[in-house]
Symmetry: C2
Subunit: 511 residues, 2 copies
């Protein structure tokens, strides 16, 4: 990892020495308010370490509060079910005893989705951690599908699929720490830019434990029988039930790859080239446009160019034709490819590549660690994302960058805001913004809250969605309520009342 | 159109002379039971023609009942709203006056989705025909999207898009007569085999009039904000609201095409080749496997071969590489291509092609007309469809064909059952079955009901879905109720109660 102080000096941001987080044993957490029934006691922990580590997700505000030792609302207990019946029993107890139940996968929420601040109307709150439901239960090699438990992490499930030559190929930035159940509950997006990349597109069927019973959808590749039952639970963020397992599509490991790093002098040209690629029907697996700031920070491009990293991969066939057509489209819009197009067949050349595309990939996986290191030095650093149609992008980009910069100038001493595209659709991009600014110790959260509010207002005003793949949680709820149509929210509330009549599941999230 | 009698003689099926349907003016329909409020009167018709033509969809049982002049439950009135406010006003009146409201697009339902047999608890029933909401309201050429009213038919909306060089590229078999709103409400599947072909995949946002208010989703290319609001209405078959307009993705007209007609001596080899294609990541636009019976009937292949029609198309780039790889995969599984692979660039060669692939396409579009002509001669002819994972297909195919043949042998004097794949997924096919059998005048419906029940039981037993793209309607409800998980049905019922508290929308369908 790059040295954080050097990184910041390069951006002209001053920072303090790294702060250390308090040790969990030194935290004076409020005493647990509830005792589990005897039959569940062996699944429960009231240890400081467990309660503290299940208090927050991984947002900037979570890291700051953790560093400060501010944990006023830890779960009273953390429950580790060993099987589905345990989940049923825990929810039964919660409904009977008015205990709030917060589902917990890998804890990588950046929107307050796993917090236990549920208010005073509950006797207590438990965090239900699915870590022990971590198995790939069944693989259907003929159909290329696998039945996987909700608590399996990215590396955990890939390790179990790899000996079969298979992969789920779902790589969100949180991959190391997040779980299949969490991806499903939050409609996670993998790092592939086009084609099947949302976890939604991989689902054959779900098994969901609700207080009203277990809902299992039929395992079929597609069905036109009524509204999709899976799509009601996808994105429900734990308020309707707990996803204990899913049948998902898996794939063979890729063999053929092509990639190019395309430089653009003008950002608008890069946007136009990206749009041409998105509308070409080529389905690049990677197609990330980084503005000059991102290109410098994340890919070491120091000539002021904007960078489009474009790539294809296939387990079945060479990708030369697609790659060459993509390069041609980029050239039509003024893109240049200093290092040329690279094509690789893993059967002949198993060595990993080097270049801007690989520097970007490395940086992508390293970013969350760097973020945490920066926060410890008092820096305000966070990301937010949206999606909009192409006709709205120019205005949205201008408004967001302008309004965030204005907010930073007002409440901090300036800072950086950069933009990249993480996902592409024929009808629009998913822009992803990163903010980096000097913090004021003790006021980091207030600074961030103002920046976030300015960004969210600009996004809604300019026709974006309040979230593309970070979910709603607690953080986005005010804007979600403005975005969602009232009749739909009424229908969703009614569905929740039918499935969770005691309203114990994840109170305060989404609804 | 082929002469029906000759067609049947070729199959060894005897038939009678064609029956004529009674003229609507000669039908003694029950008198309308309700009178619209004065402000809505100008939108309503109680003419025999309108009431009779809105009594049924286009299923076999609908054609038979129409021929018999059996229309015991016509709508009391047919309403033709001229705009969204009219839809709001009609639903308001229905809720106040306990009048059932049956949304009507093109009337092409084959599952009883537009019938007005709503039972005795309503004061009356109106069929709400959206034919006048038929406009492409707005086109965003940059984002390649269009805002289209729910009543626009396939040809109607394509005629409005074509001058811009755009197409929705959604071609269900009902294309000529069905509407965008109907496609959305029933999760229609277009005739492309892979890639974006379900209408679900084209939706940016919906506008839905519900008795609880208008639900409009935000127009964005993707959103991770909660469960998808659009997916609740997609497939809701008019029980939650009436879709008055949608923003949908459109595309440029295709220029490059490739196709091949691949012959297989063994059906299992054809299935294996089709699976290889579905799992290759090539995304063929056409990939229909026809068993020998279908190949003979629909594509004039008379040597007993099973036929795989495979094709690619693109508006952007030549499809040679994909087409050649597809041919190679077919060859790996014993497929032969007597006429070779055809590649075409419409810019150089605008003349339409001829060959088995084109014969199949012609036959696909002609089939509903032929079906009606056969029914008039007393033949039992109908189709049904499902989807299953690859590991279940062999058993499903064996069970369905065997059980349907057994039912036909028992209640009729034999007949034909054929199978093709209409859509493909990496994890399984959507098999589509056609039944052709001699009828017994007066007992056609009883014969069909027994065949259908045998087929549906075999499908559910072998792991299929009760419908892939024909929807649930009234016809599939008993099997839908067995397929859908009870907690999900409870959630859907609760959503309906929230949106349609008087339960006036399409009673008897789906729920």
């Amino acid at each position: 990892m790059e040295e954080p102080a050097a990184f910041l000096a390069g951006l002209g941001i001053e920072c303090g020495p790294p702060r250390e987080a308090p040790h969990p044993d030194d935290l004076a957490l409020p005493a647990p308010r509830v005792t589990p029934p005897g039959a569940l006691a062996h699944l429960c922990s009231s240890a400081n370490w467990d309660r503290a580590s299940h208090s927050y997700g991984k947002a900037f505000r979570d890291v700051v509060r953790g560093l400060r030792g501010e944990l006023p609302h830890p779960p009273d207990l953390v429950v580790f079910p060993a099987g589905e019946q345990d989940v049923v029993d825990v929810l039964d107890w919660c409904a009977r005893a008015a205990v709030a139940a917060v589902p917990y996968g890998g804890g990588s929420s950046v929107v307050g989705g796993v917090e236990c601040a549920v208010g005073e109307k509950y006797a207590g709150v438990v965090s239900i951690d699915l870590a022990r439901l971590d198995r790939v239960v069944e693989v259907d090699e003929m159909s290329r599908a696998a039945r996987i438990q909700g608590g399996a992490t990215g590396p955990g499930l890939e390790d179990q699929l790899r000996p079969r030559g298979l992969t789920l190929r779902h790589f969100p930035q949180s991959f190391e720490f997040s779980t299949l159940g969490g991806w499903l509950a939050t409609r996670s997006a993998g790092h592939y830019a086009t084609g099947p990349t949302h976890i939604d597109d991989f689902v054959e069927s779900l098994r969901v434990v609700t207080p009203a019973g277990v809902a299992e959808s039929r395992r079929v590749p597609a069905s036109g029988a009524g509204p999709s039952p899976d799509r009601l639970f996808l994105g429900s963020e734990g308020v309707l039930g707990i996803i204990t397992e899913a049948w998902v599509r898996v794939q063979r490991l890729p063999r053929f790859r092509g990639s190019a790093a395309v430089h653009f002098a003008d950002f608008a040209d890069g946007v136009a080239a990206t749009r041409a690629l998105a509308q070409s029907g080529l389905y690049p697996s990677n197609c990330r446009l980084l503005d000059a700031g991102e290109a410098a920070i994340a890919a070491g491009v120091n000539d002021g160019s904007h960078l489009l990293v474009v790539g294809f991969e296939s387990a079945d066939h060479p990708v030369r034709a697609e790659m060459e057509r993509a390069a041609e489209l980029c050239g039509d819009h003024g893109g240049v490819i200093p290092d040329g197009v690279r094509l690789r067949d893993a059967a002949e050349d198993p060595a990993p590549e080097q270049g801007p595309a690989e520097r970007w990939r490395h940086s992508f996986l390293r970013a969350p660690y760097l973020r945490d290191a920066l926060v410890r030095r008092g820096v305000v650093v966070e990301t937010f994302e949206t999606a909009c149609t192409w006709d709205h992008f120019e205005e949205l980009h201008h408004s967001v960058v302008g309004d965030v910069a204005a907010a930073l100038a007002e409440i901090s001493s300036g800072g950086w805001v950069t933009c990249r595209f993480t996902h592409l659709y024929p009808d629009g991009p998913a822009p992803y913004f990163t903010v980096l600014a000097p913090g004021v110790v003790g006021a980091e959260l207030e600074i961030w809250d103002q920046v976030k509010a300015a960004a969210a207002e600009a996004i809604l005003r300019a026709g974006g969605t309040i979230t593309h793949h970070h979910a709603v949680g607690r953080e986005h709820r005010p804007w979600y309520r403005r975005q969602a149509a009232e009749p739909f929210v009424a229908a969703l509330r009614a569905a929740k009342e039918a499935l969770d009549p005691q309203q114990v599941l994840n109170p305060g999230v989404l609804l």
